[in-house]
């Protein structure tokens, strides 16, 4: 349908105004508040010992979460895309479950399961292995919320590609590992990378669940998001804005990566 010039004008500017007021103006305001005292103040604020520890912790969590999600996610995606079995729709639903769970509920669930008074509390009480108030708690919370990403990005790619190439390789005598490494993995590389990028972004940005399972001690168990919250509640507003800007830059990098990968995926599909 072709809109009259007036209708086109109205729809365009109403939509733009909405996006401007809702997203662009507030984000711009944060950037303004961060850089008005100068770039030096920004760098000083994001390089305090507590900030560096927070960055190290966040990156450590990412370094654990991503390989686990890839190692378990790719086979799960293979399963869902290629095989038929009883209970497949249940598995599909479980993979999507984390999207419907509030971060606070994730925290509560982990506390009720792994806490010292929890169902599996013997792990902490008898083996001295702290999950809640320790690194494993933060890792488990991050994996919970990122489970769907790799699986959901790789599965449709596998589905579309079909098994022709793999079967051809098998008839030529390749072992299953060679087939996987040389044929399957390269064919899903853009979908996989996209899923990894989403996983990294979500892990760095997780707040509600981590707030509940971490002991929130500066320099030891504060992630970047926890430090932002800590700075704000202490009244160190500029510090909160500066760290938020850093996280926003990471988010922008993620968006850029997404755009690049989209176009690569499109090109790969055409090949």
């Amino acid at each position: 349908m072709t809109l009259s010039p007036l209708a086109r004008f109205l729809t365009r500017y109403l939509a733009l105004a909405y996006v401007l007021v809702l997203v662009i103006v507030p984000v711009g305001l944060i950037l303004l508040r961060t850089f008005t005292p100068g770039v030096g103040a920004f760098f000083a604020s994001i390089s305090t010992p507590a900030a560096i520890s927070a960055l190290q912790l966040s990156l450590l969590v990412v370094a654990i979460v991503v390989p686990l999600n890839v190692a378990f996610g790719v086979p799960t995606a293979l399963l869902l895309a290629r095989k038929r079995f009883r209970g497949k729709s249940i598995l599909q639903a479980v993979v999507d479950l984390p999207f419907a769970v509030s971060p606070v509920v994730v925290g509560v669930a982990l506390i009720l399961l792994w806490g010292s008074a929890g169902i599996l509390g013997f792990v902490e009480n008898d083996f001295g292995f702290k999950i809640i108030f320790g690194l494993p708690g933060i890792v488990l919370a991050s994996i919970f919320v990122t489970v769907p990403f790799v699986i959901r990005e790789v599965e449709p790619v596998l589905h579309e590609l079909g098994t022709d190439q793999e079967q051809a390789a098998a008839t030529l005598g390749a072992t299953w590992w060679q087939t996987f490494w040389r044929i399957t993995l390269p064919s899903i590389r853009w979908g996989l990378t996209y899923g990894v990028v989403l996983t990294v972004a979500r892990t760095l940005g997780e707040y509600g669940a981590v707030l509940m399972v971490s002991s929130n001690l500066p320099g030891t168990s504060q992630t970047l998001t926890l430090l932002v919250s800590d700075r704000y509640s202490r009244g160190a507003e500029y510090g909160a804005y500066a760290l938020s800007t850093l996280l926003m830059m990471v988010a922008v990098l993620v968006l850029v990566a997404q755009a690049v990968l989209e176009s690569r995926r499109g090109r790969a599909r055409e090949e």
Binding site: A100, V104, V108, L113, A170, T171, Y207, G208, L247
Partner: protein
């Protein structure tokens, strides 16, 4: 047996060995169980401790009911607003051409990629005490509304956009050539085709809104009956060591989320089937 048949059998066998279904199912199930199902099961178990009466007390307490009211009101309001504006934005991004369209398209995903606590600060910068436009929405329902609008915007836009792109313009052009006005074309041709995606996006937005914590925690102020959402009440309960209460309220939130997503999926697939039948 011929040599070729031998190779074929070996090939099929090696492929089967490679991705042997039971092993994969087992591995995937264990992974998903430990990470996703077990923690959720712990909530179910805890909410049952103390029996039905304890569950009912926790779920019908004054603070719980107030928090449900605030949460649902905010979530429904925000879903409706973003369903409208999300559709509008998706329309403009697919059907219109203007300078900077690519930038706007990229910006839409920003709320999705941003940490929720940063979103809260972002909202507070514009609507909090230091607001440059003197809009003080902190501690009000409007403040919560604006924060939720921010984080749920991408859901509707991103589910409707691909469908809008793939839409077959022929039906629209046919209707136009038969003399139908734009509003008729939109309501009779375009909207029904978009309905499944719109409902999916709305469902995702609603689901996100009722569970949202990080982005409302700073701008809301947790005023009972005014701005305290259920996720904040759950957090208060678990910190006060009322584990059964926290588990009970969590179950309610999860149930609402699942029911809404399920209903919308059913309605959406029925609408999609109707569309297919009409073609």
């Amino acid at each position: 047996m011929t040599a070729a048949a031998d190779t074929d059998i070996r090939a099929v066998a090696s492929v089967r060995r490679a991705g042997s279904t039971p092993a994969l199912v087992g591995a995937a199930s264990i992974w998903l169980s430990v990470i996703v199902l077990l923690p959720l099961a712990a909530i179910v178990v805890q909410s049952g401790k103390g029996g039905w009466s304890a569950f009912r007390t926790a779920v019908t307490s004054g603070a719980a009911l107030e928090s449900f009211r605030v949460t649902l009101l905010a979530a429904v309001g925000v879903t409706v607003v973003n369903a409208f504006f999300g559709l509008l934005v998706a329309w403009v991004l697919t059907r219109d051409q203007f300078v900077g369209k690519r930038v706007i398209d990229a910006v839409i995903d920003l709320p999705f990629a941003l940490p929720t606590i940063v979103a809260s600060l972002v909202m507070l910068a514009l609507y909090g005490p230091g607001s440059p436009v003197k809009l003080h929405l902190q501690h009000t329902k409007w403040g919560i509304g604006v924060a939720l609008l921010f984080v749920t915007l991408p859901f509707v836009v991103r589910t409707v956009q691909p469908v809008l792109l793939e839409l077959d313009r022929e039906t629209e052009e046919a209707a136009a050539s038969l003399g139908a006005t734009n509003s008729v074309i939109f309501t009779r041709v375009v909207l029904p085709a978009l309905l499944p995606a719109l409902l999916t996006g709305a469902g995702l937005a609603f689901s996100r809104a009722i569970g949202e914590f990080g982005s409302v925690v700073l701008i809301g102020g947790a005023i009972p009956g005014e701005t305290e959402v259920s996720s904040q009440w759950i957090r208060t309960l678990i910190e006060n060591d009322d584990r059964t209460g926290a588990a009970a309220i969590s179950i309610v939130l999860l149930a609402v989320s699942f029911v809404v997503l399920f209903v919308l999926r059913v309605v959406g697939s029925r609408a999609a089937k109707r569309e297919e039948q009409q073609e």
